[in-house]
Amino acid sequence: MAPRLEIKGLSKFFPGVRALDDVSMSVEGGEIRALLGENGAGKSTLGKIVAGVYSRNKGSILVDGAETADLDEKAAGDLGIGIVHQEGSLVPQLSVAENIFAGRQPTQWLGQVDVRAMRDRARVLIAQLGVAIDPALKVSTLSPAQSQIVEIAKALSRDLRILILDEPTAALTLTETEKLFDVVRRLAANGVSVIYVSHRLAEIFALCHSVTVLKDGRLAGTRSVTETSTDELIRLMVGRDVHFSRAAAGRKIGDIVLEAENVDAPPLVRSASITVRSGEIVCLAGLIGSGRSEFCEAIFGARRRRGGSIRIGSKPIDPRGPWDGKHAGIGMVPEDRKAAGLFLGMDIVNNVAATVLSKVSSGANFSNRKAEALAKNFVNELRIATPSVRQIVGNLSGGNQQKVLLAKWLAMEPRLLIVDEPTRGVDVGARSEIYRLLRALADKGVALLVVSSDLPEVLALADRIVVMAEGRTVGELPGDGASEEQVLRLATRYTASVAEVRKEPGMAEA
């Protein structure tokens, strides 16, 4: 019998970039196949071609042995190919339910959309992912994690033969990830083939049957998970060994840089306090909806604060907007790089320059030369894979976009750098580079406040871990010697009341 999906000699070119070069692979029905590779290796491109979003330059794609000639999104959907995009594809102005059933809304008499049926079905689809989101809410009011859930529900709303998941867990925490895995396993048991893109190797060993590695757009190898190891996969992917050990604790921790007390920014931040010292990396852990990002925004000035005090280096500040935070020496890398972080239509140079307009100017004049030099520096330092610093950021791969976002704030040389999810969608090699970079910043005396839902990341980076639950800081652990269980226990100690919060529609997961 023919395999469910067979890709033969697939190639795709973008101007100046060979994203895929003669890639062949085949996936059986019911198989969960991981797709692995560095940032820019071509994973998303491959997924998009199979889902009919991009056209291919060469090669053929067979579904159940049948050649698919002109594969566009509609044709792919009709063939039962569903995709969850890495970068999100929802329409922010429409409701959750409308997004899930875009163009296929259940209808009643005279083709009227049957709103109630649509919402009920949406609710069921979302519920199987273990989350409650009101299907009537507008997508623009959702948090990144909630949007991700809706994306997944949208893909599940069809009769699927092939499901492509492009880094679906990047915005999710452990609980939702496990729910998603259950759903994926159930689909596979029913014969659906799944292509699963992720940078989290542990997930691949937990979920997938086999793994295909891409390197520089070429096939680097396909293995069965039982016959391979993390080290082998990393070598295939990166071509060298990568380690994530905690750095030796030789760093000198200095004076207090940030001191926030009883910060109150309703509805998500109730009473949160934190101190961060110069040269220290403090990680803020907690479940989705615990108010970590919102707490950081309140410190930076991006969210209105009702009470509490914030001091930077013993000087009280009252940030009324991000410019005040920036003026006080705070930088903040936001969680949602597409909506809040990057200028996707602009090139790398301008993105990096956005926070440091005065630095890349001579007098009143913006200096393209200085901005370009700055951008080149970061492209080299962070190893951003791009044909030139003039590349439009929207055309970079997700991981490389994340690096540009980081560069944008590193350029500002802040005293306190807040990083919300520093390695979302970043490959293992780059991840260790980002860790190295954050540590180097701390060595230079910068105070770092890192929000992360990735517990291994928290444990690898933190000098100190502060845990939040329900808008409050509920506990603190030393980074050295802490375990995932300890963090989780603190974060979930208040689960009873969390259930209460969930009843407020839309608030629970924000």
Binding site: G16, N57, G345, A354, A364, F366, A385
Partner: protein, 336 residues
């Protein structure tokens, strides 16, 4: 990912013929496209109408007539780069002109003061627009559509049928011509604004912020750019420019007409979009905008020389606009 030589080893790209390559190159720079089009059009007209087009008096008329639109395009381009726009410019123009005329003609104040009052009234109209958009948060289309009718109505209320004549001293502000080319002041005012504005917007750090705002307002805000304040400033600049255009227009005619500038906003926006602005924001240059104005002015001139009715003018300008914007599809930097 492999970085290849641009377009190398790419069968599909190599198959592209010369024509597509030229279109692509042109599409990459709107200014270049327009510049080529303007030159081509001017040459063609010089050949076809050697007695009518390339004459000093025709040139003078063309340059003088495009002055108000040219002045307004500077402000509109700035706003559109920032992702917004102002429909009320025509009404602001008339309102400011009328106020300058009232101050000089009816009250007998010095002409200098009248000019200043006119510009200030324009800036004030812009300020109101800006406050409505940034503080109350009403969408610019609706806000300035509202003030478009309000300012026009206030113009009628202020001056009934208009102020004619104003005063000779005031008229001199719109009529003074340079000794060499003998082109009147509105053109020179526009030229200075385009040069200074072009430099400011292209080069200075302050105005560059508008590109970021247009590119992604939320990211700009989180990058520490004061989005609302800048948009407000943009509207004030737009208003002041409309005020200046109104004053100069009234002075040139020595008459403040209450119907001045009716419909000019569409012409201005057309030129701005033609010049490379996009409704999404984040793109465009003043140079492009003024080339857009020039291009439209040439087409109008051709129509007049040819004695083709004004009715056809809109058709041609509209087609050119659609053509120019559809060129964007060929941009190499666009998404696949």
């Amino acid at each position: 990912m492999q970085i290849t030589q641009p377009m190398a080893e790419n069968a599909e790209h190599r198959r592209e013929n010369l024509f597509v390559r030229i279109v692509r190159r042109l599409a990459d720079s709107r200014e270049l496209t327009l510049f080529v089009l303007v030159i081509a059009l001017a040459l063609a007209m010089s050949i076809v109408y050697p007695n009518n087009f390339p004459t000093a008096s025709n040139m003078r008329a063309v340059l003088l007539n495009l002055a108000p639109v040219g002045i307004l395009v500077c402000g509109m381009m700035l706003l559109m780069i920032g992702g917004t726009f102002d429909l009320s410019v025509g009404s602001t123009l008339a309102f400011s002109g009328v106020w300058a005329a009232v101050v000089a003609g009816w009250w007998g104040w010095p002409a200098e003061v009248a000019v200043l009052v006119g510009i200030l009234v324009g800036a004030l109209c812009g300020l109101v627009n800006g406050l409505i958009v940034t503080r109350i948060g009403i969408n610019a289309l609706i806000a300035t559509l509202g003030t478009l009718t309000i300012y026009r109505s206030l113009t009628y209320v202020t001056a009934g049928t208009g102020v004619t004549p104003i005063t000779d001293a005031f008229a001199e502000y719109g009529r003074a011509a340079d000794p060499l080319l003998r082109i009147q002041s509105p053109f020179w005012a526009m030229l200075v604004l385009v040069l200074v504005g072009g430099w400011l917007v292209a080069r200075t750090r302050f105005f560059r912020q508008f590109y970021f705002i247009g590119g992604n307002p939320r990211a700009a805000q989180l990058s520490g750019i004061r989005v609302d304040r800048l948009i407000l400033i943009g509207f004030v600049i737009m208003g002041a420019l409309a005020g200046l255009a109104g004053v100069l227009g009234a002075a040139r005619l020595n008459s403040a007409v209450v119907n001045a500038g009716v419909g000019i906003e569409l012409k201005v926006i057309t030129a701005t979009v033609l010049g490379g602005a996009s409704l999404k924001g984040g793109e465009g240059t003043i140079l492009g905008g003024i080339l857009g104005v020039l291009f439209i002015a040439l087409i109008e001139n051709a129509m007049i020389i040819n004695a083709i009715g004004v009715f056809w003018q809109g058709l041609v300008v509209g087609l050119v606009l659609l053509f120019a914007v559809s060129l964007d599809r060929f941009k190499t930097s666009g998404r696949a």
